[in-house]
Symmetry: C2
C-alpha cells in the first residue's frame, strides 16, 4: 500500500485549518491516507527568524484578507481564535495521546479543535478549554488532563517537532508525499497533480 | 474593456520569473491584458522585515528545491542568476523607459532579462550586462544607458515601487485583479478561478 501523506500543522495556523478541510479528500482520490502530525511551529520560527504573520506589516493585512477569502471560496466557517497566535501544547500532546490508541478519533479531535479555534474563534490555548473537545468524543476528562501534562506525551510532541524540523518543515501546513516536500495550503492543487502524475 | 491585471515583480525573483511564463496566457483566456510592473522588492522587505529567501535557514533549502521542481513541471529553463539576489535597478528603469513608447517591446525586454537571469544564470545587475538585452530588440545602446541613469526613470521606478507598497505588494510576484490582491506564483490557479467565476 502506498505511503501515507504526512500533514504537518500547528493548531494555531489558519492555513493549516483550511488545509485540514481538503487534504484527506485529495489523498483519498488517489488511494492515499494522511498522517496528521501537529507540531510546534514556534520551534521552526526560531530557525528561520519568522514571526507570526499578523505581527508583520503588510503580510499580516494580506493574510487576514486571504483567510476570509479562502473561507468564502471553500465554504469553511472562519473566525479568528482569541488569543491568536496561541501555543497549542495541550491540543497537540492530547492529539498524540489519543492517536496512540485510536488514530481516527485523534483526527476527529483535531478537527474539533481546529473548528473551535478558527470556525468559532474560541480560545484553544489551555488544557481546560481544550478538554471539552475530547469529552465530546467520549474521552474522560481526567484522563485527557493527565495525558497533556505527562512526560511521555510532552516528549512525543517534542520528538515530532524535531523530526518535522529535520525534514525541513518550517511552516504550517507542510506536506510530505513520499518525502517530496510541499509547503502551504496553496500547494494542494500541486500535490493533487503530483499524485495524479507520479511527480515530475 | 476589462481592467488590466497588474503583475508586480522584481527581476531578481525566481517566483516572478516562473509567473512571467504563465500570467499573460491566463489573463488572455479571460479577455484580460496584463500590465507588467517591475518594482524593488527590497523596499518592501524594509517594511516586512523579510530577508532574501536563500539567506533563510530551511526556507532557502526548500525554495531552491521548489524552483527546480517548478522548472521541471512547467518546462521552463532554470539556472540561478549570479550574483543572486541582485539589485535590478538598470533592468527596471530600462523597462519603464521602453514601456513609455512601446509596452509590447518592454514586455519582450523583460522576458529577455528574466531568461538571461534565471534561464541562463547570467548576471543582470548592472547596466552593461543588461544593455545587450535591449540591443537585441533594436534599441540603441547609448539611449538605453542614458535612460537607466536619467532622473526621470529613476523617479518613475521609485514611484512605481511606492505605489506597489501602498497597495500592499510585499512580495514577488504580486498580482491585482480589479484591486483584489494575490500573492505568489502559487496563486495563479486561484487567479484563473477568480477570473472564471467573477470572484467570491
Amino acid at each position: 500500500m502506498a505511503q501515507a501523506i504526512d500533514f504537518y500543522f500547528d493548531f494555531s495556523s489558519p492555513y493549516g485549518y483550511f488545509a485540514s478541510h481538503r487534504i484527506d479528500e485529495i489523498a483519498a482520490r488517489h488511494g492515499r491516507s494522511v498522517a496528521w502530525r501537529p507540531f510546534m511551529i514556534g520551534a521552526a520560527f526560531k530557525s528561520t527568524g519568522q514571526v507570526p504573520l499578523l505581527n508583520q506589516p503588510m503580510r499580516g493585512t494580506y493574510a487576514l484578507h486571504d483567510w476570509n477569502r479562502l473561507a468564502r471560496r471553500w465554504k469553511v466557517p472562519f473566525k479568528m481564535a482569541e488569543p491568536f497566535p496561541f501555543i497549542a501544547l495541550a491540543a497537540s500532546r492530547g492529539f498524540y495521546w489519543i492517536a496512540s490508541t485510536d488514530p481516527d478519533r485523534a483526527k476527529a479531535f483535531a478537527k474539533r479543535v481546529y473548528h473551535a479555534a478558527f470556525g468559532e474563534g474560541r480560545p484553544m490555548d489551555k488544557p481546560e478549554v481544550v478538554v471539552p473537545e475530547a469529552e465530546a468524543l467520549g474521552i474522560a476528562r481526567d484522563d485527557f488532563l493527565a495525558a497533556v501534562t505527562a512526560p511521555v506525551w510532552k516528549d512525543r510532541l517534542k520528538a515530532e517537532t524535531e523530526r518535522a524540523l529535520e525534514r525541513g518543515a518550517y511552516g504550517s501546513p507542510f506536506f510530505f508525499v513520499d518525502d517530496e516536500p510541499f509547503w502551504g495550503n496553496d500547494r494542494l492543487e500541486e500535490i493533487e497533480r503530483w499524485l495524479e502524475t507520479g511527480g515530475w
